[in-house]
Structure formats: structure tokens, C-alpha cells
């Protein structure tokens, strides 16, 4: 009441315009009827062209985060910016691969993908729509099932239709919620390579949820680690220290690979991102608990640190 002007001006909006393509600031989300928020104090920014992987335990709120970025749900607190604007509606420039595929069961594979193509590019001719849809269906190796309906497909095939549909709208941002979780190793390899390829060629911004640590290391520039829910937030951010282009098998030989991998796994196990993996085994429980409290919401481990770790391991 004493200083009405300053209380009226919302500091989060006026402080600095966002520079990253996607930016979350102190986002909090509580589902109706829940006492605790799912996500709280969540801040992260994803620059254009970056590939960010999100790792966290089941129920941490990763899908919720994807829905927020898609604009399907709105935060209760904080802001989300997309391309400098407050993000408040979904749109085809931010395509989503849903965790549960969300295919329309009354449409065939081709129709599911075509619907997305038409919606994103209404001016395209019928022929062009069909060609584009077929191209992306072929990309996920489903040309043989093009006339089938989702219920006739295996779960992995449905997942691939979801991928084709998201890619086919040629979005600026791809939001992928565990897109490869149900695929066999070979198909997953192929699709990962395709994704790498597409991202490198078109400079897409990607946010991908995954449980697969190796997948995150193969694909991501940055790995965002989420703490356990409820009231999950970002427990740490890992800058992936591996040079591009990355290849299956090849990256395993990089000295920074296994230290990074161990860090991620130990985070998933304990919810703590420890600085030194070699001493982890001997650490007492109290030690780890203490770590949580001292850890700042966003810790960025830079390449230099990894190089040092890698040196130890290489000997």
C-alpha cells in the first residue's frame, strides 16, 4: 500500500525480455484438488536450436512440463515465454509427440498424419499434403501400414505414427514425451539417427523427455534433471560434454561419456547430482541428504569439470 506503483509492476515481466526461444520463469503448477503443486519454482531457458533432454523419475512431472510448453495447460504462477511472447495457447509451431501417442482411432495412419499436415499448412494442395504425409510415414518405416487404423497397430507402431505426425508439421519446436520408449533397439537407433539428422539440418529446437540416459547423452546438448515429485523442480542441468556430430558406438569411446553417464544414473537413483562420482559409494546417507539442501535450483556443470573427471577415469 505504501508503494503502489512498484507493487503493480510485475517484476518477472519487466526485469528482462527473454532471449531464449523457450523460457520458463518460476513456474508453478498445481492440479485441481491436489494439495501440493506438481511443479514449483521451475526456471529453465532453452535457446533456439538447442536439444534439451529432460530426465526424472516417474511421476516427477515431466509430462506436465511438456504440456506447459505446448500450451495445453497454463501455469498457476510464473511465466512461460515462447519467442519473446507470453505463451498461452497451443499451436502447430510447437508439435508434440504425446507419451500415450494420442492418435485419432477413427483415422488411418495416413489420415492421422495428413490431418496434421493440412492443419499446419492449409494452403497445401491435396497432392502435396499426401506426399508430405507419406514422406514422414516412410521416415518412421510405416509405409506398409499406411491404410491401417491405430487399433490394428502395435504400441511401438503407434508411437512411430505419433512421431511422424509431429515431424510432418515441420514445427519450430519439437516437444517429445518419451518418443522412443517402446521401440526395439534397432528401430530406436534408426529413429534417433533420423532425429539427429533432422535437427542438425533444420536447426530445430527440441525438448525431449526420456528415461534412457544413453539416449539423452547421444541426442542432447543439455540434460535437465528433475527432482522427485511432488513439488518437483529442476535438480540440476548437465551440459553434455560430447562433441558433434555424435554417432552410436563412437560416443561411448569419448572419455567424458561414462563419467557423465554415472552422474546421471546416480542422480536418478538418489535424486542428487553429485560432483564426484568416484567417492559416491562410500558416502553416508546424511551426506547425500545434506547435498539436496545445498544444491541450488540450477547447477550447470561445464565442460571443463568433465574433462577433469574424464582424465581421472582414462588412466
Amino acid at each position: 500500500m505504501n508503494a503502489p506503483v512498484s507493487t503493480l509492476a510485475s517484476p518477472a515481466v519487466t526485469v528482462a525480455p527473454p532471449t531464449a526461444l523457450l523460457e520458463l520463469r518460476n513456474v508453478e503448477k498445481t492440479f485441481p484438488g491436489r494439495a501440493k503443486p506438481v511443479l514449483t519454482q521451475l526456471s529453465v531457458s532453452i535457446p533456439e536450436g538447442q536439444f534439451a533432454a529432460i530426465i526424472g523419475c516417474s511421476g516427477a512431472g515431466k509430462t506436465t512440463l511438456i504440456s506447459l510448453l505446448a500450451g495445453l495447460i497454463t501455469p498457476d504462477r510464473g511465466e512461460i515465454f515462447f519467442a519473446g511472447q507470453l505463451l498461452n495457447t497451443p499451436g502447430p509451431e510447437r508439435a508434440v509427440v504425446f507419451q500415450n501417442y494420442s492418435l485419432l482411432p477413427w483415422l488411418t495412419v495416413l489420415e492421422n498424419v495428413s490431418l496434421a499436415v493440412t492443419a499446419a499448412a492449409p494452403r497445401l494442395s491435396r497432392q502435396a499434403v499426401r506426399e508430405q504425409a507419406e514422406y514422414f510415414i516412410d521416415l518412421v518405416k510405416l509405409s506398409a501400414a499406411i491404410k491401417k487404423r491405430p487399433r490394428e497397430l502395435s504400441a511401438g507402431m503407434r508411437q512411430r505414427v505419433g512421431i511422424a505426425r509431429a515431424f510432418a508439421v515441420e514445427p519450430q519446436v519439437l516437444l517429445l514425451d518419451e518418443p522412443f520408449s517402446l521401440l526395439d533397439a534397432l528401430t530406436r537407433f534408426e529413429l534417433q539417427e533420423q532425429l539427429v539428422h533432422i535437427c542438425e539440418r533444420t536447426q530445430k529446437t527440441v525438448v525431449m523427455v526420456t528415461h534412457d540416459v544413453d539416449e539423452a547423452l547421444l541426442l542432447a546438448d543439455r540434460i535437465v534433471l528433475m527432482t522427485n515429485g511432488p513439488a518437483a523442480t529442476i535438480g540440476g542441468i548437465l551440459q553434455v560434454p560430447l562433441p558433434r556430430p555424435r554417432q552410436h558406438g563412437k560416443i561411448l569411446e569419448h572419455p567424458a561419456y561414462y563419467p557423465a553417464r554415472d552422474q546421471l544414473l546416480s542422480f536418478l537413483e538418489s535424486g542428487v547430482l553429485s560432483l564426484d562420482t568416484t567417492r559416491k559409494g562410500q558416502k553416508g546417507k546424511e551426506d547425500e541428504d545434506a547435498k539436496i539442501t545445498t544444491l541450488s535450483p540450477v547447477d550447470v556443470y561445464e565442460l571443463s569439470r568433465w574433462d577433469a573427471d574424464a582424465g581421472v577415469r582414462a588412466e
Binding site: A70, G71, T89, A95, F98, S102, L104, L115
Partner: protein, 257 residues
């Protein structure tokens, strides 16, 4: 083992029917002497069954011909019911305001008997045929209305989210997402509505005296030919069952895994 079960499944329904015929015979021989025995019913009705399309006057026609009149009337009334009921159901499912405005009214109109609607129809339309159609439509409409509304309301949010991410217009959302997602509910509503339309036809024909199975039934009651009442009842039951099975097939066709 399986063969024995098959045999059971085939024979038990006949045992049931035989039991009922036995009871019928017993009743007609003891407490209700006016009730014609099964054999007498058959003797007096067989002409109507064996030559189902003869015509000897407005009310003296083969049962097949009478059933066709009734079916035609039901078809018209039923068509009217689903043409009115489907959009009404969509409006109720889509708009909260519309629901708040009309749901209480619908709950009140729904349990009203066709016997109550028919006189109102006669007042409204002056003639018996449109009054009968009005009665069929207004009684048969509700399952379609309610099932459509429920279907629209219980649409999987995932499908809506797909449409939102693609930024479909309201119109596209309705045609490409909401309508196809509601089709199974729609057909359940259509099947139930047809059942009611067929129930209502008898009452409507009895009151208006129109030619048809229901009109025939009432006329034969008044002329004391009781065996023909039984003929009419059995015909109504069989046709109702056939209609329900047919719609059941259509419904299955649209039901999704």
C-alpha cells in the same frame, strides 16, 4: 464339453418357449376362459400369417402389410427424433449454458408417456397422422439427446489436445474430432431411440385408429377377436427384437476397441 454347451444353448430357449405355451394353455383352460388357447389362436390367425399381404379392407389385412404400415410410421417418427435429437445433444454436450438452461426441462419432459403427448399432438396438428409422428419423435428423442450429450462431454481429452496443438478452428474441431469421437455414443442413442419409437407406435395407432399393427390390435379387441390380439403382440415383439438386433449390428460396427 463344448458340444454339450452348444446343445444346451440351442435347446434351452425352446424349452422356455414351450413352458410359456404350456402356461398359456393352462390359463386358457382354467382361470381365463376368454383367452384363446394356443391352438385356437393359430387356427384363427394363420391366414394373416400364411398370406401376410392380403387386403380386404382398412383393418382386415395380412399381418405383413399391417407391420409395413407401422414400420413406415415408425421410420418417419424415428427419423424426426434423431434429426432433432442429435443436434440438441451436441448443443447440450458442448455448451454449459445451454445445459443449464435446458437440462431441467428435458428431465421433466423425458418421463412423459406417449399417451399424454398424443392428445397434445392432435391439438397442435389437427390430424392424426402428424400427431402420431410428433408423439413418436418426442418420446423417442431422449436417448439420442442424452447419449450424444454424454458422448460429447466424455470425449477423451487427448483427442481434443491433438486438435488444440494443430490449432483447428472450432468448426474443424467439431467435424474432425468431436463428431467422430462421439459416434459410438450416438449409435447407442439411436438404438435405444428406435426401441422406444417402436414401443410408442402401438399406443399412437391405438389412439388414432390408424392402420397398422397397433390399430389392428385395438380394433380386434373391440370386435372380440382375441386370438388376433395375441397375433399382434407376438408380431410387435418379433419386429422390435429384429430392429434392436439390426441397430445392435450397426452399433458394433462403430464401436471401437
Amino acid at each position: 464339453m463344448i458340444a454339450a454347451q452348444r446343445l444346451k444353448a440351442c435347446t434351452l430357449p425352446f424349452l422356455g418357449i414351450a413352458g410359456v405355451i404350456g402356461l398359456w394353455t393352462l390359463l386358457s383352460a382354467t382361470v381365463s376362459p376368454d383367452l384363446p388357447s394356443p391352438l385356437r389362436s393359430w387356427e384363427e390367425s394363420k391366414r394373416y400369417i400364411l398370406d401376410p399381404f392380403f387386403k380386404e379392407g382398412e383393418m382386415n389385412q395380412g399381418i405383413g402389410r399391417l407391420a409395413l404400415y407401422s414400420l413406415e410410421r415408425v421410420a418417419k417418427g424415428y427419423l424426426l427424433a434423431i434429426i432433432l435429437g442429435t443436434p440438441l445433444g451436441f448443443l447440450l454436450g458442448l455448451s454449459r449454458g445451454f445445459t443449464q438452461a435446458f437440462d431441467p426441462l428435458i428431465q421433466i419432459l423425458r418421463p412423459i408417456s406417449p399417451l399424454a403427448w398424443l392428445p397434445l399432438g392432435l391439438i397442435l396438428f389437427q390430424r392424426s397422422e402428424p400427431a402420431a409422428l410428433f408423439t413418436i419423435a418426442i418420446c423417442a428423442m431422449w436417448p439420442t439427446v442424452i447419449n450424444t450429450a454424454v458422448g460429447v462431454r466424455s470425449i477423451n481429452q487427448d483427442y481434443v489436445n491433438v486438435g488444440r496443438v494443430l490449432r483447428l478452428s472450432r468448426w474443424q474441431m467439431l467435424w474432425k474430432i468431436i463428431l467422430p469421437a462421439t459416434v459410438p455414443y450416438l449409435f447407442t442413442g439411436y438404438r435405444l431411440s428406435l426401441g422406444i419409437a417402436w414401443l410408442v407406435i402401438v399406443a399412437a395407432e391405438m389412439l388414432t385408429g390408424a392402420a397398422g399393427v397397433g390399430g389392428f390390435l385395438w380394433q380386434e379387441y373391440n370386435s372380440l377377436v382375441y386370438s388376433h390380439i395375441i397375433l399382434a403382440i407376438i408380431t410387435i415383439g418379433l419386429i422390435g427384437y429384429a430392429l434392436d438386433r439390426l441397430m445392435g449390428l450397426a452399433e458394433m460396427r462403430f464401436q471401437r476397441a
